[in-house]
Symmetry: C2
Subunit: 244 residues, 2 copies
């Protein structure tokens, strides 16, 4: 499995993804699932979960189209984020359909993508693109999108993320959501690719890659563990407990 996450708050966007892939329990590997593109009037981050071959083929085609001398379409030509989502969705279904011709294991060949970013002075946004090529925006009440192994890391997002959450807090919550998922599911693993994009800056302000032993990530994870333990100890007592 994979776990990828994007958050949209008023101040900007946050993206995080794990790097573990597995084709069976005895074939575990590390691949980045994040594609970034930042040229001129546009900045994009694309995350993927699902079939690695399909995802890589989509990313390769995006790069080919960028470098093509006479492209029909590429990331530079899209007028808005919806056009980018439709473009990625089309590539995804094309590659997916080619796989289906070879073998009929549809459930295992599809890939999911999260697209986020900003074009010119348009509103920054995040979208989830399905294997079928269609896509959805994040809701206003729960302004985040997840793909892959989504459940372990969802409660902290449900509790902490709304559109007014400061972007730095949102970034920390994203890392904690990854941290919780990695602890509970071995098929989600480090390093964590990480991008924070502040609205209207038009460049990907902060890109990082965290291993478990990276100083900031380790300090974050350890501090969180201590704070949770303190929080447990400060909860109200049951009526049947001794008061000593």
């Amino acid at each position: 499995m994979s776990y990828c996450l994007a958050i949209k708050v008023n101040e900007g966007l946050v993206f995080a993804s794990d790097s573990r892939t597995n084709a069976g329990l005895d074939n575990v590997n590390t691949y980045s699932k994040m594609f970034t593109y930042n040229v001129g009037d546009r900045a994009f981050v694309i995350l993927t979960a699902g079939n690695l071959a399909t995802s890589q083929a989509v990313y390769h085609q995006l790069e080919k189209d960028i470098n093509s001398p006479s492209p029909e379409i590429n990331l530079n030509l899209c007028e808005d984020l919806e056009a980018v989502a439709a473009y990625i969705g089309k590539l995804n279904t094309e590659i997916y359909s080619q796989s289906l011709e070879v073998q009929n294991q549809s459930a295992l060949m599809g890939s999911y993508f999260i697209l986020g970013g900003q074009i010119k002075n348009q509103e920054p946004n995040i979208l989830l693109i399905y294997p079928e090529g269609n896509y959805i925006y994040a809701s206003t009440d729960n302004p985040f999108l997840q793909i892959g192994e989504t459940k372990y890391g969802k409660p902290i997002l449900d509790r902490m993320i709304n559109k007014k959450t400061p972007i730095a807090d949102s970034a920390r919550v994203a890392l904690l959501s990854l941290d919780s998922t990695m602890r509970s599911d071995l098929t989600v693993g480090p390093p964590i690719d990480f991008v924070v994009y502040k609205k209207d800056q038009m460049h990907l302000d902060y890109q990082g890659r965290y291993k478990l032993e990276s100083p900031y990530f380790k300090e974050l994870s350890d501090t969180w563990a201590h704070k949770l333990t303190d929080a447990i100890h400060s909860l109200p007592k049951f009526s049947w407990e001794d008061n000593n």
Copy 2:
């Protein structure tokens, strides 16, 4: 879905289960998934997730056998927890097999059970019983068992529960695990059935049922939400953050 949880720590056992059932999105109902039995030298709690008809049939047969004048087996006759687990497993597969004869939807007809308790001076324990009738104990490192919608509530258990965790803290963590799951998944819902069993007491010390508005549960949930927010705000800052 359902969510049921049992924890085994050195001081005793904790059990918690939600009460929501749904047969399709438009057929949501409330049933307790907890069965308790406490007579003489034995105290049991049984939790269930899966097919409600199968689970109820198992619980009814357990009761019938207790009241039978000449039972082959019942909860009073079992020598140890393993015998109880095998007994429940056998009932489960018998009822499950009867359903299979009628319709071939095996995946939807099975039920899972968690059994926990103590008989005489034996070690208290918890076991998970599969639809196939076999069963497992909790591991020593992660001394808890979950059935149903298990993922949302697992990270807090992974972080907080080990065999030395005090029983009152374990009980609070169990409620928080239910709380997180109910917030993230609408098919898991209140009231929460809840039992705390202290080792060697031979009676179910504390049984409760919490609604969202029950004073203790509300205080616990609110305090936890505030503490988590405080914890987020006390995490280390990123290098790119303003220090003001």
